[in-house]
């Protein structure tokens, strides 16, 4: 497997397309030789990130989501770009995992899951508007020795 293989995907920002996005991760993951455990983590992190873009970024507005998935040594790097309003993850409260379910607020688990599943998760505003989410999962690909 070469060190740099890039796969792009452009899709309408709709919850109806989440399964198609997960399928894209699976297809490219298979091409890159991503192991099953890492693939599950990538599928979850991307699904959560795109869901946030759709629900909290675009809201009721139409938009698109661009995905770029590539290998980098034994790592997988995924960039998710949108043209939605700027998103600041520091404004999102962490879920209260040590609190009984009935005393926790509903939701608020997406960003937490992204950070738990990825080795790196950066949320960057794009020049001219929109956001880029950069996800890195290391040890995802068996490399030749």
């Amino acid at each position: 497997m070469s060190a740099e293989q890039v796969f792009d995907f452009l899709v309408k920002a709709s919850l109806d397309n989440l399964q198609e996005i997960r399928s894209y991760i699976d297809r490219v993951g298979a091409r890159l030789g991503v192991n099953e455990s890492a693939l599950g983590d990538l599928r979850l992190a991307v699904d959560e990130a795109v869901t946030n873009v759709i629900l909290h970024g675009y809201g009721k507005l139409d938009g698109i989501v661009e995905l770029h998935m590539q290998s980098d040594g034994d790592a997988v790097v995924i960039r998710i770009r949108d043209r939605a309003r700027t998103f600041d993850p520091s404004q999102v409260s962490a879920p209260q995992l040590d609190t009984a379910l009935r005393n926790r607020p509903l939701g608020g688990m997406g960003i937490f899951l992204i950070r738990k599943m990825m080795d790196e998760a950066e949320f960057l505003p794009l020049p001219g508007g929109g956001n880029e989410i950069r996800l890195v999962k290391r040890g995802a690909i068996q490399t030749g020795i």
Partner: protein, 123 residues
């Protein structure tokens, strides 16, 4: 779009137990199907629910939000302490789903079983 089907079954243990068998993916597009079906059976009188996740290959945070909401619907009379739910339990989650259950700490508050009869008789 992902599909999610919820099948409703019943079993008699120490109490009547409603079994919700989910098949498909539970994401932000489908989670309300689970939540609405649970709400429907609770309104019809179900007080103890076993959620069978054996047919769920993918579940994101929206699915956990739905489970959380179902737990809240069933637990109105429970204490607010850090005890496991006596009204909602989980059956046979697939490995990726089980991993997220643990990551989100839901295993602390919800019993998880691999065997259906054992689960039914635990209520």
């Amino acid at each position: 779009m992902a599909t999610l089907n919820i099948m409703v079954g019943h079993a008699q243990g120490n109490v009547p137990v409603t079994i919700l068998r989910a098949e498909g993916d539970i994401d932000a597009a489908t989670h309300k199907i689970l939540q609405d079906k649970a709400s429907e059976v609770i309104e019809a009188g179900s007080t103890h629910i076993l959620l069978d996740l054996g047919g769920v290959n993918y579940m994101g945070s929206a699915g956990f939000r739905a489970i959380h909401a179902v737990s809240n619907m069933l637990s109105e009379t429970e204490s607010s302490g850090l005890t496991k739910s006596r009204h909602l339990k989980l059956l046979n989650p697939t490995d990726p789903v089980a991993r997220v259950i643990k990551t989100l700490g839901f295993d602390v508050y919800l019993d998880i079983f691999q065997d259906r009869d054992e689960a039914v008789n635990s209520f």
